[in-house]
């Protein structure tokens, strides 16, 4: 990624998505002593290795181990935030976020509003989500739709290391609760260039990942990579795909969505979360509301089926999860329609 900005060339390093998250936390903790991380096993690095080495660097009071109680993790974070701290609450797997849902939806998301702006809740809840393969029902879920549409909450879901670092920093500097969905498959699968210098990626801004004029594909998280891979394949057949990575799910970047949709009039939304009531449903509704007269074909959605969760059997998992082949086939259909 070229980072030319007002004539200054930034130094770049290739790093994994996971490293990008770790470096964002470390840099922010160095920059601001109010930032601390809490969660299950974070002290020894966490099961994902996201906080690896951080206790040695920042001490056990800033890399705080908690009991297996998600409600408490988020609850403590909210309390700390209200007295001026900037907590990062790590949920070990997003599948286990539901005990904390009440704290997130009823407390964190509403504090600023119900206190008439006297109190605020600048917490970041990191939730590793999505399927890596072989994770089964409770280590593969995409729970974003449960929180999506909760006013007062910001939700991000980066797909690249660059965005992961930039968005995590932006989330930590934000005055409101941010739900940070990091896709587990991206952790080691995705590496890209990340500047050495301090930078943020603004919350609420989508990114065009690829320019094209036949079809528009809107996605976020791991499926962005399936989409980009499929776009390469169909390009050989003469189908030019325009790819938009939402990056932030709440608030959605409506102008970017509308621009991308209007560019080709043929829109497909791809996500790993279930189809019904997913983020794609809202994106489709927004496009219908504003750009109906620029649509050339009905809006298409490629999502996980409405099945409770990823099956344990490899056959079921393959059936359930979107992949580059499924995206490619859907792209061909969309282009042909």
């Amino acid at each position: 990624m070229s980072m030319l900005k007002t004539g200054v060339a930034y130094k770049m390093a290739i790093m994994t998505y996971l490293e990008a998250i770790r470096s964002a936390m470390s840099e922010e903790m160095e920059r601001d002593e109010n930032v601390f991380v809490l969660g299950e096993d974070v002290g020894k690095g966490g099961v994902m290795n996201a906080t690896k080495g951080m206790r040695d660097r920042f001490g056990e009071r800033r890399v705080l181990d908690t009991p297996l109680a998600e409600s408490a993790i988020v609850g403590v974070a909210i309390g700390a935030a209200m007295v001026g701290k900037k907590p990062i609450a790590e949920i070990q797997f997003a599948d286990f976020i539901f005990p904390a849902a009440n704290q997130i939806i009823s407390e964190a998301a509403k504090i600023r509003y119900r206190s008439n702006n006297d109190w605020q809740c600048p917490i970041v809840i990191r939730a590793p989500y999505g399927a890596t393969g072989g994770g089964g029902l409770y280590h593969s879920q995409c729970p974003e739709a449960v929180f999506f549409g909760t006013p007062g909450l910001k939700i991000v879901a980066p797909s690249s290391a660059y965005d992961a670092k930039g968005l995590l920093k932006a989330a930590l500097r934000d005055g409101d609760p941010v739900l940070f969905f990091e896709h587990k498959k991206c952790y080691l699968y995705v590496s890209d260039e990340v500047p050495d210098e301090d930078y943020t990626v603004p919350i609420g801004k989508a990114a065009v990942k690829r320019e094209g004029d036949d079809i528009t594909v809107i996605s976020y998280g791991m499926t962005v990579h399936h989409v980009l891979k499929a776009a390469e394949e169909v390009q050989k057949e003469g189908i030019s795909a325009h790819v938009l990575d939402l990056r932030t799910l709440q608030p959605l970047d409506v102008p970017a969505i509308l621009e991308a949709a209007a560019k080709t009039g043929k829109v497909m939304i791809v996500h790993e979360d279930n189809k019904t009531g997913g983020v794609g449903a809202e994106v489709a509704a927004i496009i219908s509301e504003h750009k109906l007269y620029e649509l050339d074909v009905p809006i298409m959605r490629l999502c996980a089926p409405d099945v409770p969760a990823v099956g344990m059997a490899p056959t079921l998992e393959k059936f359930y999860l979107p992949n580059a082949d499924k995206v490619r086939d859907a792209m061909r259909l969309l282009a042909e329609m």
Binding site: L292, Y293, D296, E336, M337
Partner: protein, 430 residues
């Protein structure tokens, strides 16, 4: 004829004597629709009139064979209908059902326009019937429309400054007559090139407009037109109309215009000069016995000529009432083929739109057409040496010079003038 996959062919009926083809107007039924016997399938546009095509049978319309705006010959199949019985008797094999479904989808998609396509077409004033669809089932995609627009723009550089001489030459070519006909037809195929700019509005030619254009072209190219005009003093007619119009309107519920008075005078004159009521048939001239007068009824988009049959047997009042009916039908698009057929002579009240002089085109294959121009009050010489203000009107006659000459037409139009000038307040209109 039975077509085992799709059903029975519905053919274009023989609508009238001289009719060999008709243009299919709007399809009121679409493939997949179930139609009752006699239910209207589509509109047929023939000789300046729309007729509705009733279904000859009950069943499901499976395929449209002649698209809107296309011409079909009499006897040609225009669509297929699968009868309710045949569907039950011969269950369709799965393979066939599949192709059938595909065919149906394809037929559907060609005229299924997406919001994007419709708005693009509207913005750029594009006739979508001219755009080739390349998407599934022949659907016109947004890209197809954009490509069509780009193609039209591509041909524009001909109008750019470098090629100005050519641009000037082009319109000149277009008016070169006869001997250039070959190159002219070729040129006509792509008027888009240098004829219009992006600001110009492109109005697609409607089937009825096309019909009018063909008829007019046929008339002026086949019939050698000659023309003469006469001025008549219609003061008596005007006075008569003023006197009776209100009671007439009250009694008959019909507005009394000057037209039936003039029509009566014209018909009386035709009675005396029957050659005016004839048609050229190369080896013969056919002089018609019945006097059926075509009346031109215009709208902003088109003109139709419904017929008053046996006009010579009708009084002024009778003509007024019948005309009112025909005009109402014309305005509501309710004219039937029989309303339009059989005219032997045409009358046009061009004065109704303010004209004082016109050169009408003969309603092919008739022999002559007469117009009544605006009635104008002006000073004229009367009683040898005095001047009076009278209501004067011009009458213009176009004639087929193969049949008629100046002499007979002069006599005819003089006779019309005499009849017109004979009207006075005591003339009986019933």
């Amino acid at each position: 004829m039975e077509n085992e996959e799709h059903g029975t062919e519905v053919t274009l009926p023989h609508l009238a004597e001289s009719l060999v083809s008709a243009t299919v107007g709007r399809w009121l039924k679409q493939p997949g629709d179930y139609v009752q016997e006699y239910e209207v399938l589509c509109e047929l546009i023939t000789d300046k009139v729309n007729v509705e095509m009733p279904s000859p049978m009950e069943g499901t319309l499976t395929r449209i064979l002649v698209q809107e705006g296309d011409i079909a010959d009499v006897g040609a199949a225009i669509c297929l209908i699968r009868g309710s019985d045949s569907a039950n008797e011969t269950p369709v094999e799965p393979a066939k059902a599949a192709t059938q479904k595909k065919d149906k989808d394809e037929a559907d998609q060609r005229t299924r326009y997406s919001p994007a396509v419709l708005s693009l077409a509207e913005e750029n004033r594009i006739d979508l019937r001219k755009v080739q669809g390349t998407s599934l089932g022949g659907r016109i995609s947004r890209k197809d429309v954009l490509a069509y627009i780009m193609n039209n723009l591509d041909s524009k550089p001909a109008a750019s400054p470098e090629s100005k001489p050519e641009e000037k030459a082009a319109p000149a070519n277009r008016v070169v007559p006869e001997n250039a006909s070959d190159s002219r037809t070729e040129e006509r195929k792509e008027p888009a090139a240098s004829m219009f700019t992006a600001e110009d509005q492109i109005v697609p030619v409607s089937p009825i407009r096309k019909m009018i254009a063909q008829r007019m072209l046929q008339s002026v190219s086949e019939i050698p037109h000659a023309w003469l005009m006469i001025e008549a003093d219609v003061s008596g007619l005007v006075a008569l109309r003023e006197k009776v119009k209100e009671s007439f309107a009250a009694k008959e519920g019909v507005r009394l215009t000057v037209t039936p008075f003039v029509l009566k005078a014209v018909v009386n004159a035709i009675k005396e000069y029957p050659m005016l009521n004839s048609t050229w048939a190369e080896d013969n001239i056919i002089v018609k016995k019945d006097i059926h007068v075509s009346i031109a009824v215009g709208s902003e988009e088109s003109v139709v000529t419904p017929v008053i049959r046996n006009a010579d047997r009708k009084t002024i009042a009778g003509l007024a009432i019948e005309m009112e009916e025909l005009i109402a039908k014309a305005r509501n698009g309710k004219l039937t083929l029989s309303d339009m057929q059989g005219g032997t002579f045409t009358f046009n009240n061009t004065g109704s739109f303010g004209s004082v002089l016109s050169v009408p085109i003969i309603n092919y294959p008739q022999a002559a057409i007469i117009t009544l121009e605006s009635i104008v009050r002006k000073p004229v010489v009367v009683n040898h040496d005095s001047i009076a203000i009278r209501s004067m009107a011009n009458l213009c006659l176009s004639l087929d010079h193969r049949i008629l000459d100046g002499k007979i037409c002069g006599l005819f139009i003089q006779r019309v003038k005499q009849y017109l000038e004979k009207y006075d307040e005591n003339t009986v209109i019933y």
